[in-house]
Amino acid sequence: MDANLNSEKGKEVIYEQLLQFVTEIIGSDVMEELNVTKESILTKDLEMDSIEIVAFAEKVRDQYGTAVDFTSWISNIELEELLNLSFSQIVDFIYDSLNVK
């Protein structure tokens, strides 16, 4: 586990990691054209569809393993919530999961 994740910088590190995953999925040229922030909504602002969200979830799972039960978390997200899901919500979930330990 990256020691930074427990520091003030932790959320920033997680956010950068998530951006990397999304870039791998939708392409770096696309990412460069978008003004992505922590408040960007994956489905609306990044136009990610269900298949891309699933690919994203797999990358998160592979990165954090059992320390963060991202698969269950996202599988319990209702349609309405998914339509408003931002990076900051995901960052908070991962950060909180890592810091419960």
Binding site: V30, S50, I51, V54, T71, I74
Partner: protein
């Protein structure tokens, strides 16, 4: 001999399989009726001998179009389109037609009702009148649960279950589960892994015997000679003008290439049409497909099925609804490449088409899907299952 009633929405892709199956039932001496809302051209589509059970209404063509999603789609894409489809289209549309369906079924007294799965009012009406019913699924993604996002499918189901309950059906699951069986117009191979019961009959795409309704510039098409030919279609339910950027990128991608390009769009939207382009609003798609090497499309279930039935690989560019999942099936079976609708650049589209033209593996994989479709039995299988119910 038996009596069958199809309950359909006025949408081409949903109607077409019922036309082929219904025509075959008529040929075999059965009585067949179609219950549909009054819409332009709907009666003319039905085969000879069909009973047209048309629900009259006082809506304008625009209002009807609004109600049947034809005009939806300018900015609504991705997962949000699912929500709009149910809340603004399917639920009000089914409620609007329910009593009309009940009334026609009472008069017509069919032995079996075959309802389009999106016309779930047809299941409710049949249940109320105690007529056995069969579901017809033209958009197989609607019976798929994405394992990582199960709540999406659950939400869809809940919309339908609430509709059923408001209209007198006591069950807490969909009536599809109580149907005699569910006709699914694709193959197991293309649909991918699933946990559906034996009640789901994968009969493959049903595209045969559709009459040719549209003219086509065959002279120009033949004049292209031996160069590769492709079709570009994002379906007929979107307003072409709102998708002009898409079509301009298509033109940019291929205007200087040695490729013949048939585009389904409005030719009046373009200042100039290059010699290697044919642009028409409607085309006799089934007649043209055998001459094509690649189909570029929005991953609508019907265009994809028709292309793969001819063993033609695809570049998919999904826009909305279930198209993302159909595109995923194309990629998973190796029968094509996927691009992003708003994001792709002309060069990427051009590269994708050349990648498919230059690598036979895509066509081989498309051929494998075609074979899986053939093995499903198509119209014969569907008619066989239906006749078993009434023997």
């Amino acid at each position: 001999m038996a009596k069958f009633a199809f309950v359909i929405p006025p949408l081409e892709g949903h109607i077409n399989p019922t036309l082929s199956i219904g025509r075959r039932l008529l040929e075999r001496g059965h009585t067949v009726g179609w219950i549909c809302v009054e819409a332009p051209g709907i009666k003319e589509k039905l085969p000879e001998g069909a009973k047209a059970l048309i629900i009259q209404h006082h809506l304008s063509e625009d209002d009807l179009s609004e109600l049947t999603k034809n005009s939806v789609g300018i900015s609504i894409q991705g997962i949000e389109s699912l929500k709009i489809l149910y809340e603004d289209v399917l639920i009000p549309f089914n409620q609007f037609l329910l009593e009309g369906i009940v009334s026609y079924l009472k008069d017509f007294e069919p032995d079996i009702v075959v309802y389009d799965q999106q016309m779930f009012a047809g299941a409710v009406a049949s249940y109320r009148l105690k007529i056995p019913f069969v579901a017809s699924v033209t958009a197989p993604s609607s019976i798929r649960t994405i394992e990582a996002l199960p709540k999406l499918h659950e939400w869809e189901d809940n919309q339908v279950i609430s509709f059923q309950q408001r209209n007198g059906v006591p069950f807490d699951d969909r009536l599809d589960e109580h149907a005699e069986f569910v006709l699914v117009y694709t193959s197991d191979l293309f649909f991918g892994e699933h946990k559906l019961s034996q009640q789901y009959k994968f009969v493959g795409p049903v595209t045969e015997a559709r009459p040719n309704q549209y003219t086509f510039d065959w002279d120009r098409f033949r004049a292209w000679g031996d160069i590769p030919k492709i079709l570009v279609s994002i379906g007929t339910t979107f307003i072409f003008e709102e998708k002009i950027n898409f079509f301009l990128k298509v033109m940019e991608a291929f205007k200087n290439e040695e490729i013949g390009v048939v585009v389904i769009s409005d030719p009046d939207l373009f200042d100039e049409i290059p010699a290697n382009f044919i642009i028409q609003k409607r085309i006799p798609q089934l007649q043209i497909l055998p001459f094509l090497q690649v189909v570029v499309c929005h991953a609508g279930q019907n265009t994809v099925s028709e292309s793969l039935s001819h063993g033609i690989p695809l570049v998919t560019i999904p826009v909305a609804y279930d198209q993302s999942q159909v595109a995923e099936s194309v990629v998973k079976t190796g029968a094509g490449i996927r691009l992003k609708f708003n994001r792709f650049r002309p060069k990427e589209l051009r590269d994708a088409v050349y990648e498919i033209l230059n690598n036979s593996i895509y066509a081989e994989n498309a051929g494998t899907v075609r074979d899986s479709f053939i093995q499903c039995g198509g119209v014969d299988a569907a008619v066989g299952y239906l006749e078993e119910l009434v023997d």
